[in-house]
């Protein structure tokens, strides 16, 4: 029975780890450090240590782990994948070496022992419970079930969507208004909390905690356990922990037969399992891939709020004044001022390298010199996410293919920006009435955005199978779903067929008709002529001309730097090759 209880506590730690690794895609290799904080925390603070009541000591240990997890996440927030793995792996070793370095406090290699079974005492209630193995097992099982239920529920709701898009592409998540840093901190903290809970539980169960119980090897074992299940499936850790536990008992059996250290055998088997799981990851991943069960777009048009019908001269949605940005003292955008009006499609043309994409980046929130006002309010030096929340959304030039999310789910991520509901993740977890209304709204918005872009037919397709043009339209659909008032499209027509261009033109005109300001980078002058109300020409970071398409096309300077002076008047069929970085 002790083995089962121990495996369940291991499962608690693995579930916590899976939140970081599988759900958020953060390679976290230091779970043993947080287990150590929980285990040593309760041993040092509780009966036999400082002498706090067991419940208080346990809560304090978990709280300390939560704080450590939070501050670790803050400290390591700027690291990318591999270095995050390195940092957390270092943390695992650091904690173990600290435990060994201060034997006076942590008991050296022997660790700390506490009386078993522990007693849970409440003076105020006058209750004293003996924590027998059976009761401990019930505790462990209860926590596992609660966490599993929460995960399953989360996977189907807004939280799961946020984490999924964060896992696939943090940049895109930011551009769709997901608070990436905050989500990562929350996930990391939750991982630490569950790690500490696991440490507390098994220390109380066994009455002993030693450095070898929380060695970096444990971190790797848990990592393997989580990896077995692949991305974001709740049963992965269950299967993984079962596998690791079986391996451990196999190692013990073999060790007693062959007169070798069972610890070493465990290590060897863990290594083999880790390398094996990696080799088999492809097939394992395909095994559990299910698509399209999260968001089913509704086909009714009803709940989508109508945009205001624009006046003749639309209101200024976004204005940029004397905006400049330079890289290594080379100006990429040089003293640009422009105005984007509601109800207007504004095309941006210019030679390759003239700074078109950079200008879009600046308008969408990159740090800048000069002033940018959105809807009349100054937005100086704010980040991408704040700009999205203010109603300015940009699509990247190269389409970001999120292979793990169906088109409908991707659009749903965008749809959440307009969500009035704070703490949507928690609301969904407890299925509050408001979360149901919100889910209904998201489905409607997703349906509308997909219909507008002609993607309703492929809403559940594996996104890898979409054509290049459909990918681009999907980016546009994600942006539309945010309900923004200013759209910055970076060459959406690149790679599109004629039919898809027609759709794009209709979408762009439709957005303008509904009152939004559309700013679109485009090379195809025919498209510009047909879709745009206003054209600006960028050359070497400066706007050299602007006006109606016809006026700009006939401007001699524009003809010289961009269109080519040999071009005869009305043809306008130039299609300059799309610039690729």
């Amino acid at each position: 029975m002790i083995d089962v209880a121990q495996a369940l506590w291991l499962l608690v730690a693995a579930l916590g780890l899976s939140l970081s690794v599988s759900y958020a895609g953060l390679p976290m290799l230091g779970q043993s450090a947080f287990i150590a904080v929980g285990g040593y925390g309760v041993a040092l603070l509780g009966p036999g240590g400082v002498g706090l009541p067991l419940g208080v000591a346990a809560a304090a240990a978990v709280l300390i782990a939560a704080l450590l997890g939070y501050f670790t996440a803050v400290g390591l927030s700027r690291l990318d994948g591999a270095y995050l793995a390195l940092a957390t792996w270092t943390l695992a070793w650091l904690v173990q070496r600290i435990l060994l370095a201060y034997p006076g406090v942590f008991g050296g290699p022997e660790g700390l022992t506490r009386p078993v079974p522990a007693h849970l005492v409440s003076r105020s209630l006058g209750v004293e419970t003996v924590l027998t193995t059976k009761i401990n097992l019930v505790f462990a099982a209860g926590i596992c079930v609660l966490v599993l239920l929460a995960f399953i529920r989360m996977g189907k709701g807004p939280g799961g969507l946020d984490l999924a898009v964060l896992r696939e592409s943090p940049q895109l998540a930011t551009s769709l208004g997901v608070a990436v840093a905050a989500r990562r901190r929350a996930v990391f903290t939750m991982t630490a909390v569950l790690g500490a809970v696991s440490g507390v539980g098994s220390t109380v169960l066994l009455g002993i905690i030693s450095p070898s119980d929380v060695s970096p090897l444990l971190s790797l074992q848990l990592f393997v356990a989580v990896l077995v299940g692949g991305a974001a499936r709740w049963w992965g850790p269950v299967l993984g922990v079962a596998l690791v536990s079986v391996l451990a008992s196999v190692a013990d059996r073999l060790g007693s037969v062959g007169d070798v250290s069972p610890e070493r055998l465990r290590g060897v088997l863990t290594a083999i399992l880790l390398l094996g799981v990696l080799a088999l990851r492809g097939p394992l991943g395909r095994l559990g891939r299910t698509a399209g069960r999260v968001i089913q777009p509704t086909r009714s048009t009803l709940p989508v709020p109508e945009r205001q019908v624009p006046t003749l001269e639309g209101p200024v949605e976004l204005s940029a004044t004397h905006v400049s940005i330079s890289y290594a003292s080379v100006p990429a955008v040089d003293d640009v001022s422009l105005v984007l009006r509601g109800g207007e499609v504004h095309a941006l043309i210019g030679p390759n390298g003239s700074g078109k994409s950079t200008l879009l980046h600046v308008l969408a929130g990159d740090v800048v010199s000069g002033e940018i006002r959105v809807g009349g309010r100054s937005c100086r030096a704010r980040g991408v996410r704040d700009r999205v929340l203010a109603g300015v959304v940009r699509t990247p030039q190269r389409s970001v293919v999120l292979s793990g999310l169906t088109p409908a789910m991707q659009v749903a991520v965008g749809a959440r920006v307009g969500s009035p509901s704070r703490q949507a993740m928690l609301r969904h977890l407890f299925a509050t009435p408001r979360s149901r209304v919100e889910a209904e709204r998201v489905r409607a918005v997703v349906g509308a955005a997909l219909r507008e872009t002609g993607l309703l037919g492929v809403s559940d397709t594996d996104p890898v199978r979409l054509t290049v043009g459909e990918q681009q339209l999907l980016q546009v659909a994600r942006a539309i779903a945010t309900g923004a008032s200013v759209f910055l499209f970076d060459e959406p027509s690149a790679g599109m067929t004629d039919g898809e261009r027609q759709t794009l033109r209709a979408v762009v005109r439709g957005l303008a008709t509904a009152g939004a300001a559309v700013f679109i980078v485009e090379h195809d002058m025919r498209f510009v002529g047909a879709a745009a109300d206003f054209v600006s020409v960028l050359d070497a970071g400066r706007i050299i001309a602007s006006g109606t398409p016809v006026r700009v096309r006939d401007d001699p300077l524009v003809r010289e730097v961009y269109l080519g002076s040999s071009l005869d008047g009305g043809a306008g069929g130039t299609h300059v090759e799309a610039d690729r970085p």
Partner: protein
């Protein structure tokens, strides 16, 4: 405690630092060219030494003085083992997950694959050797037998300061080999292939540079240096098969201090980490031997987050 003790402490730190520098050099080389963090690197350094020990001495945890010829064989064996192990890791763990021409099947590359694979390879080395060599610590023979050079192994300096000759020579060999390796990597044709692949694997392939071969060689050179570092380090104190992981992380701290991808920086970083470690132990107690460099690494990562887009040399 007079200044003599401090001089010894500093020298010991520098000797350890020169060794760390060699390990860091290999790490930085791989991180700079292949954009891969070589998680098994430290384990390879230690495993290489034990391969030599198993071949020449056996499983007994006693230091046997080796005759001159076996000493040479021992050194060559360890260095070769380092190169071979590193090449195996590159072949089976890293290349299948890389986004280079001739790399894995996944076009985008798979960082999770080589991170977990590197950790798995390091763990496998550690634990398999641990099955064969179960003792806590092994005294490894000193193939260079540096103590013999001077009477008692100590050099007397004016002012009553004595220095262990071993430490002096380890600094000299470590830095010497490190600098030679750095210069030849910067100057040679291979060095320019490395930088070409680092900058643009596709472009390098179009110029006839096989990215796959360059990656393999980067790992082999890293393994050679790791093996040499192991030979230099091992006789200094009793080592265990588990020391590799922490050695690797200490070397990462050195590489980060010097700037990832900068080979000269790695050598200097090694000296700094060695000094920090020695001074921390001197001032605050032996418990900090591993704690200080590991804590330094965590702080470095938090304060100066490295991008993976570093350049070689």
């Amino acid at each position: 405690m007079g200044s003599g003790v401090l001089v010894q402490v500093v020298l010991g730190g520098l000797a350890n630092g020169a060794i760390l520098g060699l390990v860091a050099l290999g790490f930085s080389l791989v991180a700079g060219t292949v954009r891969v963090l070589h998680f098994a690197h430290g384990d390879i350094a230690v495993a290489a030494v034990f391969v030599g020990v198993l071949a020449m001495i056996g499983r007994a945890p006693i230091a046997v003085a080796l005759a001159p010829l076996p000493s040479v064989v021992f050194v060559l064996l360890v260095v070769a083992a380092g190169a071979a192990l590193s090449a195996l890791v590159a072949l089976f763990v890293v290349l299948p997950n890389l986004a280079i021409p001739g790399g894995g099947r996944r076009r985008a590359g798979d960082a999770f694959g080589w991170i977990a694979g590197g950790l798995g390879a390091g763990l496998l080395l550690r634990e398999v050797l641990g099955l064969l060599l179960p003792e806590q610590g092994y005294a490894v023979p000193d193939p260079f037998r540096l103590e013999r050079l001077v009477h008692g192994g100590l050099v007397n300096l004016p002012g009553g300061v004595t220095l262990p000759i071993r430490a002096v020579i380890v600094v000299v060999i470590g830095l010497g080999v490190g600098l030679i390796a750095e210069r030849s990597l910067v100057r040679s044709r291979f060095g320019s292939s490395l930088r070409a692949v680092a900058d643009d694997p596709e472009g390098a392939a179009l110029c006839g540079v096989s990215a796959r071969r360059v990656v393999m060689w980067a790992f082999v050179v890293a393994g050679l240096l790791a093996g040499l570092a192991g030979v230099l380090a091992a006789p200094g104190r009793a080592i265990s098969v588990d020391d590799g992981a922490v050695l690797g992380l200490e070397a990462v701290a050195a590489a980060l201090l010097g700037g990832v991808g900068s080979l000269r920086g790695a050598l200097v970083g090694g000296l700094v980490v060695g000094l920090v470690q020695a001074l921390a132990v001197y001032a605050l107690g032996a418990g900090l031997y591993d704690v200080a460099p590991l804590a330094l690494l965590v702080v470095l990562l938090a304060v100066r987050p490295p991008g993976i887009r570093a350049r070689t040399a």
